[in-house]
Each structure stands twice: as C-alpha cells, then as structure tokens.
C-alpha cells in the first residue's frame, strides 16, 4: 500500500513545486513585478546600491572640507593586507599650544583591499566609511592608489572623539 502512497505523495509534491515556480513564471512574464535583476548599463543614472554594499573605503568630508581623521594610524595597523598608509606630521595647535598629529595623506591601495571592513570597524573617530562606487576599472594600476583625504582638507576642530 505504501507503494501507491509514495506515488501519490510524489505527484502531489511535484505539483506543489510546479505551482510555485509556475506562479513566478507567469507573474514575471506578464507584469515583471518580481524581477530582481537590474538592467545595468541602462540604469546607470538612477542606479543606487543597497546600503550595505562595499565598493571602496572613503573618507567623509563635510561642507567646509573637514574630515574627522586625527592620524591615529589604528586603521593602518588593523588592515590585514597593508592597504592603508598614513602619512602624518606633528604640528603645534595654535589655540591650545599643544603638539598634535596632523594627517597629511591617507593613502589607500584599492588594488590590495579585500573589502574586509577591519579598518572601518577599528577607526575610533568614524572617519572612514564604505563608498558605493564600483566603477574601478582602469588601464593603469597606479590609478588605484588613492588619497582618501581631499587636498587642503583639515581636521574638524569641533569633532569630539568617541571613546572606543
């Protein structure tokens, strides 16, 4: 008897499966409602990657060309691939009179980055974050070495470092 039960169950489950895929097919054939792929080069102007997308590491700057990096080099040490190099100098702060580190160049080698996120996790100042750009193709690999702080940018004096 279990022989017939097997056949019956097999047919039933197969039909259940076909019902599900059939619904996908016909809904997409007529409405394109659930299509999850995007038409890439056509929608290049409107394309927005999802929030968690990891395109590259960037440094946020505000409208006064100020960033939040105080050149602590924690990210440089956190990176497992040696992707980041921080070039810094000591300068006297004109207001407080204290000597402090100043960021000259935050060098980021995109070609060595594995998008692991260790640097962003480690940064105590939330100075670096994920960028959404993924158009990285270039004919010369030296183009992949980027400076993350913009030219002439300075440390935001009002920024209070969070204690991590």
């Amino acid at each position: 008897m279990s022989y017939f039960k097997d056949i019956f169950n097999a047919v039933k489950t197969l039909l259940t499966g076909m019902k599900i895929t059939g619904r996908y097919f016909f809904v997409n054939l007529f409405t394109r409602r659930d299509v999850i792929t995007v038409q890439y080069p056509d929608n290049i102007d409107t394309l927005k990657m999802h929030d968690r997308f990891r395109g590259e590491v960037i440094m946020g700057h505000d409208e006064n060309n100020m960033h939040q990096c105080d050149a602590c080099t924690i990210c440089e040490n956190a990176c497992p691939n040696g992707t980041i190099e921080i070039i810094w100098d000591k300068e006297k702060n004109p207001e407080t009179g204290k000597t402090q580190k100043v960021l000259l160049n935050h060098i980021y080698h995109l070609e060595m980055c594995t998008m692991c996120g260790e640097c962003i996790e480690a940064c105590p100042s939330d100075a670096i974050e994920w960028g959404q750009n993924f158009h990285h193709v270039t004919r010369d690999r030296s183009n992949l070495t980027k400076s993350l702080n913009r030219p002439e940018s300075i440390l935001n004096p009002n920024f209070v470092k969070s204690k991590k």
Binding site: I7, M18, T21, Y24, T37, Q39
Partner: protein, 343 residues
Amino acid sequence: MILELLNQFMPAEVAFYVELVIIAVVYLGVFALLGLFLVWMERRVAGFFQLRLGPNRRGPSGLFQTVADALKLVSKELTATEGRDKFLHGIAPYFVIVAALMALSLIPFSAELQAFDINLGVFFVTAVTSIEVVGIFLAGWASNNKYSLIGGMRSGIQMISYELSIGMTIVTMTVLAGTIQLSEIVEMQRGGWFIWTGHIPAFIGFMVFMIAGTAESNRTPFDLVEAESELGAGFHSEYSGMGFAYFFLAEFVNMFIISAMAVTLFFGGWLLPFEIGADIPFVGAIIFVVKTLSVVFLMMWFRWTFPRLRIDQLLTLEWKYLIPISMVNIVVMAILVWLGLTF
C-alpha cells in the same frame, strides 16, 4: 507537390533526386533554426522562472542572442585531448545529429507537411531516436577522459531503461489508435484527442511519457549524463566549437521531437478540438508548432522546478514505478478498448 513542379522541366529520375536534396536542405535549415530558437526560449523561460529577464539585448527580446552564440562557436578552434580515438571522436556528433534529423523528418507538421510518412511511423521514431545513445556513448568513450566515459555509461543506462517505458506508453496509445502510421494516428483523433477519448489510461500514459521523455532527452532532472557538478559536462566535455554545438542543438531538437510525439499521440497533432479551422493548409502546421512548444514549455517547467535525481533513484523510478505502471496501463487500455469504454 515539389516533385510535380520539378517534373515539368527535367526527367523523372533527376527530379526525384533533386527533390530529395531540396527536402534535405530544408530540413537542415529547420533543424538549425529550431535548435537556435529553442535555446533562446529555454534561456528566456529560465530567466522568468528565476526572477530574471534572460537574454534581452540582441534583437527583439534577445532573439538573436543564440545566433551570435552559434557564430562564436563556429569561429572557435577545434581542440581535442591527446590519445583520443580520432575517428570515433570525430564521428560521434554526427550520430546524434543524424538521428535527430531522421526523427524530425517523420514528424507530421500537418496533413501535407510531412517529409516521410511511412506506415511504421511510431516504431521508426523510437528506433531512430535510440541511435542517439550510440553517438553519446561513442563521444564518451572516444574522448579518453574518465568523466566523459562515466557520462557515456550513464547515458547508456538511462536511455536504455527509459526507452522501455516510452515504448510501452506508445504501445498503449497504438492500442487505442489501431495504427502506427503517424498521420493516421492524427486522423483518428478527429473526433476527439486521445487524451480525452482514452481518458484515465491515456492520462497516466501522458505522465509516464513526459517523465520518460525528459529522461530520454537528458534534461534536468535527469541530466546525469552531463552532470555539470560532478562530471564537468559529461560526454561532451572534450568537444569544442562545432562539435559541442552539434550536441547542444541536437539535445534541444530532441526535446522538440519528444514533445512533437506527445502532441501527435495525445493532443491531436495538427487538429483543433471540434474541427475548428481543420484542413486549411498552413494553419495545421502552426497549430502543431504551438502545441509542441507548449509541451516543450512543460519540459522547461520541469527543469527549472525539480532537483536532479541520483543514479540509483533514477533506476528505482524507472524499474520500480514507471515500468509496472505502464504495463498495467497497457492492460487497462486494452480492456477499455475491448469493452468499448473509450469516448
């Protein structure tokens, strides 16, 4: 028809051979176009099943995508393994393609459009389609590659097993039809399609036929012969360029042939129900192709729904389920026909 036309301006014997050549060329063209179209359809349908769009760039709805792919394959270098059996390796694709072409020539597209209407029709189709397994087996054997060999072996097991249940289903339907000439089988269905007149056994027969037919044409969920995940591409992993394209096209044309047989045996060939539009010349062919493509779509639906079977499950399905069912089915059908219980 063509023969009469040709007879007007050349001697009878020459006209006969010229007609043969013309028909052969036409069928080769149909074969290639059909293969390309089916590949496109498969990819497009697969796209919709998987919430994608499928090819949609080259030509309207991506219709020329497969043409471009075929051109690419033609331009590829033919490579081959060291130590292969050159002769068998070269000849194997032709077995597959010739078998598919010969079966295609028997398909009754409409009352007029059938190249080769012999009174052994059904029997000839089953015989010719089993030549294909020779080609696949040769390809696997001659490639000098263990994965190809395993693929070839599996194809032998699979095709020989499933041919049995296909054969028995066909016997079931010929019991109902009382003839094995394909055009007559269609004519018999003028009063009602066999799936209707033969009701329960015909329906069971149709299910068995579709399962076994999917296995015959080596498609998922029965694609153990190719088995991308464990055998690379199975029997054709050592073929490149046109050799590969032949196998690929033949696989899709075989799917068409199986579907066309299903339409002929169960769904009244070129006839519409209640004889709507019957006997207008080319309408029949269009109806036939539309019906066949619907059955092809059903096979694609299987492919994108069901997971693949293991080889032992495959054989269990055939020998423990399909064969007993189809045997009982023949008896039931015979009794129904005997007692006149068909519609």
